[in-house]
Symmetry: C2
Subunit: 449 residues, 2 copies
């Protein structure tokens, strides 16, 4: 090791000394989960100091090691996953959950590709921006640095284990992962592969800690580790996210509802409007960026709505319309007030005819969830107004709302989509797992107040 290099490479075995403690001994089962989680937190904090100052090359070596280990572990991984699947089936888990739990060769390929893609992304850490001289003579800039320790709580999908781990690793963060108990055997194998990759790069295994205790008390303890954990990212259903928001004493990056809209303006191209409105709903129904309400300007409703109703009908989508919609689409059911604020996540769509862009913006800002909203229009001023005034994490012009994710936005990968306004808004990629600190270069300046 070149002693004193700012971004260092750690040879194997070196890290134990730098962590100022002996070899890892968790002594599980312990008498209490509280002490165990405290230790996990403390170790993650120590490890975060190492990974945060580690070179791009070392992180790359770890990522490539993880990919190689996963490729080698295909057999055991599928066996472990078969155990999880058998248990889940015996417990009568429903089909979508089983689908998310399954790891076949295609799924494993996909995970490995993901690791190699993240390896190729530019390293965000250490980047200095806005470096400029001030009247006092000091030069002030901002350096991108890791957040520190990230806690990720998720449900049954085992691929989240590797996705979350590699994004945290690349962005210089240590992480504590707590997956769903359904996937415990699959997760253990994945965690072993991650450890192998870390060790191959000379990094301490505490950089990624998978908590494989299924007791739900673990989550409660994790949410109270303020002293060691900088941010919590819950990934899963509404009840998980609500529990985490309620109990966490650590800031949370979260994703709540996705009540998304397409607004078809009177100056829209009718074919484009139909294509975008249909795709935004039906390309995938149960995703957060699928639309739940279609808004359409009165002047174009007569031209477009009958065709749209036919296309939605073919796709098996049930329509619920306002009065003006019902006049044009007699088959639709009448929409109730609560339809404007419901995330169906399925084959139901609410439709409202509006006077124009003003009413559309007002409707979206009032009833939407500030997630993703699109306008279809060829009118310059109205598209500008929509972009400016719609208060959502993604605002699109003439494109399907289904594009709103980290991959399509060029972030390379995402840890989730944030509906919060602070820190990270919209798809959260590597940058969302970092922060900036001020750096000042002086020449001996002192301040005279």
């Amino acid at each position: 090791m070149a002693a004193g290099t700012p971004f260092r490479d750690y040879p194997v075995g070196h890290q134990a000394a730098r962590l100022n403690r002996g070899p890892v001994e968790y002594n599980w089962p312990m008498t209490d989960i509280h002490s165990y989680m405290l230790k996990v937190g403390r170790d993650a904090r120590s490890a975060s100091r190492l990974i945060g100052a580690c070179s791009t090359r070392t992180k790359s070596r770890a990522l490539q090691g993880i990919a190689a280990a996963m490729d080698e572990a295909r057999g055991v991984m599928k066996e472990a996953n078969a155990c999880d699947m058998a248990r889940a089936e015996a417990n009568d888990l429903d089909r979508p959950l089983l689908d998310r739990l399954l790891l076949d060769d295609k799924g494993i390929d996909h995970m490995i590709e993901g690791v190699l893609q993240v390896d190729k992304l530019p390293d965000p850490i250490g980047e200095v921006s806005d470096l400029s001289y001030q009247p006092s003579g000091i030069q002030v800039g901002r350096m991108r640095v890791p957040l520190g320790v990230i806690g990720i709580i998720y449900e049954s999908r085992p691929n989240v284990t590797v996705d979350a781990a590699i994004l945290c690793l690349k962005s210089g963060n240590a992480c504590i992962l707590r997956g769903g108990s359904e996937a415990i055997e699959s997760n253990k194998i994945i965690a072993t592969c991650i450890t192998e990759g870390l060790v191959a790069a000379g990094l301490p295994e505490e950089v990624v800690h998978l908590v494989n205790i299924t007791d739900r008390a673990v989550v409660g303890e994790l949410l109270k580790l303020n002293a060691y954990v900088d941010i919590i990212v819950p990934r899963g259903g509404e009840s998980l996210i609500e529990r985490v928001s309620r109990e966490s004493t650590i800031p949370v990056i979260k994703h709540l509802d996705g009540i998304c809209h397409v607004y078809i303006d009177e100056d829209a191209d009718p074919d484009m409007a139909v294509a975008i409105a249909v795709n935004s709903k039906t390309e995938k129904l149960a995703v957060c960026n699928a639309i739940e309400t279609l808004l359409i300007a009165e002047n174009i409703a007569g031209t477009v709505l009958p065709t749209l109703a036919q296309r939605y009908g073919q796709a098996g989508v049930e329509l619920r319309g306002c009065e003006r919609t019902l006049a044009l689409v007699p088959d639709a059911a009448p929409a109730k007030e609560e339809d404007w604020g419901t995330e169906y996540l399925g084959p139901i769509l609410a439709i409202r005819v509006v006077d124009g862009v003003d009413e559309a913006i007002r409707h979206i800002n009032t009833h939407g969830s500030h997630h993703t909203d699109a306008i279809v229009s060829n009118n310059y001023m109205r598209t500008r107004r929509f972009l400016t005034e719609v208060d959502s994490s993604s605002v699109l012009v003439n494109a399907s709302t289904q594009f709103a994710d980290g991959f399509e936005y060029g972030l390379g990968a995402e840890v989730g989509i944030s509906t919060d306004k602070l820190h990270a808004r919209g798809p959260v990629g590597l940058e969302g797992l970092t922060t900036q600190k001020y750096v000042v270069f002086g020449n001996g300046e002192i301040r005279h107040r």
Copy 2:
């Protein structure tokens, strides 16, 4: 008004119609503070939609109007302040509090200058960055937008009323201000001037709402207005910040301790080291960016410490040292373990001799408050390591820690210094009161998964 301009100018009197409600009628005293604060929150949310989409020119007109109104109101402002001062003196408030409460002509000049300076800052809102084409054909970028509604809770300094209001206004946010009851009469006059400025620019007065009810229940209600308030900024002493952190259901940008350090490296220029170490402590003692602990490399301690001890002695600073310090500065008191974690905010300094940069970094990351830390060194690798590995909101090389504020960093003004890592870290200027949303420009693209 040019209907449909994305950033619009609102002529006087127009806003009431756009807010979808009648003229302002608070009907205070009401039976309960809860309903009152709900109304304040709702009105601020409505007003935030207007100010968020409003042109730079309109905001400038409002700022200039505020400055002019304050200049005209000098007489009444000083009279109102005299009432506050008399009441505070009768209540035996202590000297520093009285100093912060006083508004004389110099103080009023300073506030007016502040308003005009913020007017000259570039408008952050609407700025689009990183706009780039993706493989699907969509063009994705990020647009800087206001947070929405900002709640600011502060203590006796009346100038915070105008500073907070103008930063929120310039960054397109509505704000709810709750100042200390000691300054209530001064604050009312300042609020009147702000309203005059807003009205002169045709903006609704709800853009800046000063809550002038002194009942402390107001704070509790404000901290629970999640539906209407996006962020809370507490400015004041530890007990205020603790209460706000504990009770708030809204995210908080806060400033906790300032346990700052200077580390004098063995390759430091001795004169520069003395100048920076002395200035970092004594230029102003009771500020958060004054140092509480001096760290010094063993190899240079003998050269520098005796001179330093003499300079600190002249400035009336009491020294508390580790054993190695005491060997060089026999007059110093022995430091206890808790001295490394104490924010004295006064004429006491802890001193520790360390082996080198490794121990210094470890000490700072362990005992510091991640606020502001400086190294004095002429060594390339060690300054780079210090910059990279010290986990603080400001890290300086060869400059006094007392530079760590928004004015010296070129932010133009600051709403406070954040010791949080998320969203805003370090001095918080206009940008810290904004967020970014994704904007997507398409040509009819739909997604094929």
